[in-house]
Symmetry: C2
Subunit: 660 residues, 2 copies
Amino acid sequence: MSLDPARLAPMANAIRALSMDAVQAANIGHPGMPMGMADVATVLWSEFLKFDPADPKWPDRDRFVLSAGHGSMLIYALLHLTGYERPTMDDIRNFRQLGSPCAGHPENFLLDGVEATTGPLGQGLAMAVGMAIAERHLNAKFGDDLVDHHTWVVAGDGCLMEGINHEAIGLAGHLGLGRLIVLWDDNDVTIDGHTDLSTSEDIPARYRATGWHTVACDGHDPADIRRALAEAKADPRPSLVACKTVIGKGAPNKQGTSAVHGNPLGADEIAAARVYLKWDAPAFEIPADIMVDWRSLGAKGAEANRAWQGRLGGNALKDEFEGQLSEIASLAPPILEPHIAALAKDPPKVASRKASEMALEPLTQQLPQLIGGSADLTGSNNTKTSSTKPFSKNDYSGRYLYYGIREFGMAAAMNGMALHGGVVPYGGTFLVFSDYCRNAIRLSALQQVRVVYVLTHDSIGLGEDGPTHQPIEHVMSLRLIPNLNVFRPADAIETAECWALALGTPKTPSVLSLTRQNLPPVRTDGGAENRSARGAYRLRAATAERKVVIMATGSEVHVAIACAEQLESEGIGADVVSMPCMELFEAQDEAFRRDLLPADTLKVSVEAGVTLGWDRFIGNDGLAIGLDRFGASAPAEVLFRHFGFSAEAIVPKIKDKLAV
Amino acid sequence: MSLDPARLAPMANAIRALSMDAVQAANIGHPGMPMGMADVATVLWSEFLKFDPADPKWPDRDRFVLSAGHGSMLIYALLHLTGYERPTMDDIRNFRQLGSPCAGHPENFLLDGVEATTGPLGQGLAMAVGMAIAERHLNAKFGDDLVDHHTWVVAGDGCLMEGINHEAIGLAGHLGLGRLIVLWDDNDVTIDGHTDLSTSEDIPARYRATGWHTVACDGHDPADIRRALAEAKADPRPSLVACKTVIGKGAPNKQGTSAVHGNPLGADEIAAARVYLKWDAPAFEIPADIMVDWRSLGAKGAEANRAWQGRLGGNALKDEFEGQLSEIASLAPPILEPHIAALAKDPPKVASRKASEMALEPLTQQLPQLIGGSADLTGSNNTKTSSTKPFSKNDYSGRYLYYGIREFGMAAAMNGMALHGGVVPYGGTFLVFSDYCRNAIRLSALQQVRVVYVLTHDSIGLGEDGPTHQPIEHVMSLRLIPNLNVFRPADAIETAECWALALGTPKTPSVLSLTRQNLPPVRTDGGAENRSARGAYRLRAATAERKVVIMATGSEVHVAIACAEQLESEGIGADVVSMPCMELFEAQDEAFRRDLLPADTLKVSVEAGVTLGWDRFIGNDGLAIGLDRFGASAPAEVLFRHFGFSAEAIVPKIKDKLAV
């Protein structure tokens, strides 16, 4: 259905007016993109996008992702104009002020209709790939009647220059995600100036080289935009629509220059724009007839939603569909109970990456929501299970993604899947390459989505690959990210407990830091009580009078036990505290923490990584056993000995501290 | 000059034999790539590469970068065979053992001839772009007689799938770096299996879309390889040579499969390979005639080097050339002395990013080695000075790079420039986007190169852009990287001091963490003594009896002063310690540290970031004022107030702790 072109122009100008006025009121922001893309957005939202402002979480809605997140006023204007409950006009008046949901960049946790937090360039596009994956997977399971939507992305030159866009489109092209359509705001301008300062790429040719369909249009001609979007929608491949636009379109003296990218237009230019656009309404007011046109779109969406609800009601898969979309937080522990009980009977000596695979077997078997994958390290990360078949262009029902050597693309895609809903993603790489996807891990945390990062080869214990591959600072540096739980389990039972905890936090992502090398079991109990749940626990109590508490994580817990045993044999009482999750331990009350780490004993930390951060737990006069330098290339056992992670090396240091 | 093809095959087989034998001896490693690329490498090193084993640091040598660093035995074999002093055959026998320079992945600090540490995929290629930039820049200054070399890269499918390769080739294509030639080991295999599991990209088409020349060859046919390399060398554009190879070529039963990528062949397959390759020599022995052929190449290089030395001797620019290549560590402080003296006379209230620009003015004016740039945030990072003209395809003499929106590509390119020598790179982005280039920052540190990261907008003080753009964990997480100095200066004088320190460490990279917002001056002295040099210093001594020491960094130092003033006004003595560099402070002796942070006072840290890490300095009963959550979108001053970074909020907490 095409709207009268004469009515589209004022609708688009409403976006322009709100954008320039809100940025001006805040005296900071980015008017260029929303003004430049106003015409494209108006055609998209009025004629293509499937959405229902009254039901923002409608599962079969189209997803709209503003990858060029600095142009946040575009989405705020669209949400307000089409009748979402928020943002109100007052919210928009308070653009970029404390308490307003209209933050500088769109935040998914502040506004319905903002499908993803964007701003870090390229990631919106890469998250959209994950949304498109989730859509095809659910479609393969539940059919067109229940799952049949598109993912639309607005991306700027910045998004398309970032490396992550290469990873994202490579994945999307390979997987044939035809319902993914990227609208490129092709305006030739970046912050530093004209794009020819820094790039001379034929972007559409690059997209075609990765299996994409491309089409171009005049981003200010509604008929041409409509033609291009229709062509993109019809093509079975993912599509790039190059929308040739003038940045800041409507600001007669500044449009087309980098000056409008990230600065308020100023009162004079706004006045000139009002004349140029024939926009008579005062700031933050929308003429009633234009508002009626915008709001009519909402009604159209409600109708589509009602039809979908009808189809759902009569669908044989209704219960299964609703089950797939329901919360799984409480399901993981009971699934893992028999697994842990079996481990407790016959504790295996395995690497924690292998223990993770063992826990994933029952989890993936019983939780159809789980979708696994790895960035080309499937056999090393142990992420594939017997019940997860490959997800491929020819079989979207699969639940295992071969992400390729694309760590950042993988992490962002997992964020997109989690945001889409109906699936719970986990994916693997080496811990050291968390560096490659670190900002996506941060966005998991900021966006409050449950993504589980399976990060293996988590210390010098990976051995011969050497310092480029040996994490030193990574475990601690991931702990620094707010709202992220970093688990470093000590054996197979703790690994299963940590998996249960990771799946139990719908609003907090998790990292599982896992070993390459085999670990002796440190636990023979488990099942009913998840001892890892409070982050740390007393694994071994002193028998002689307690003089020291040795806390350790992961592969160093068994070293701590060896230290304690040697100390006890010399009459020095030693507790061992296993601390699989520092964050959860920190969240406990003081009494619990004091009980585990009492003030009157020497406290020692043992972790094969940087020591900064452990001072909080060992205190002024404690002892931190760690590694504050890069590693080396040698077999794991040689390195652990060389760098002093052994009872032989540690016990004398403890005795020295105790002055015994 | 073409070698007799009949002699090339055994030369290549020498690489294969050493690779399979060394991996077998270590019982871990990657034989597939060196065996697959042995023929290509033999043609390259025998007929194209300019090198002199007796003078590995010859400035005009070609650079050879093994971006697919897991194939490290390829470079170790080549260095040994062509007569570099190291690795010896014993070094190769001890491949991947503690103490051998033949580490799992090539390490530039362990072996001459290893131009870059590689292994983290894609970064070798991206560093090579930096080397090619440095070559063209020095060529523009000193002409073909002195600077006229190529940069050759061996890259695998993994390198070309990583996002960073997109950024790197975009930059190289745009800058027309025709002396950069990438040899793609096109073997259709990754760790997870056939490349068609995860990609269906037309890689040459993508390279052509970014302005590259591409050519293909049979990677096992010397004549065809020669043709392709010659064509690549002749073409004025950067070149991708697609070398169609069989991974593990020579292992008759396993070649062409992912089994040879990262596993020893096993004794049986090695025996079969010896038969297949007609290689009779025992493990770690090279037949004399083959060794003679290899070693003759070294002599050829010595001749070219002598000719170059002759040209240098007679060149009018000899002194300037040698000056450009000399060490600058001692030059920065005297350059900055008058600048600091001027600041001390009239201390300005400026953002530290602006103060950085002010320091860069005299530095770039007097140090021709400095090459600046920014990832599309020039005006925000304040990285461009009046003496740094743009470096562009049309003018390689320029010293300012518009890197585009390519943080990771920029950081890796800077590593490459620093490794190349003759230039000292610095580059800017927002601190939060250090996440995007974190592993390249790590590689600066591991490779021991002086790169200066100008990371601005370093806290919630950036204000309205909100949580995606507000660093919280970044300063502390960068401090965790070994051999990296993180500077967070408090005002213009400290900023200049930190610049002097950053340029003074040839083997340690630096981060300058700088504010967006203006900062009141906290210093009125400076020049002769660099007070930041020991990492921390007493900025303000208590006048009343000292009860508390408030330590702070960067934009929070003036807050600490306000706290101290208020406390003093109430008769509570308070020191203020400014700590612009935690790492340098940690390196001081205990007496110095105890003097600044005495045991018998309350110690308080104030930093607008995570508190974990500060416990080391505040001790058991200290007080850490920080931010352990994501920020928000609002004006900076609102946020600082909201999150409690003010004397009003902090002083009561201090008094509470003091129980006064």
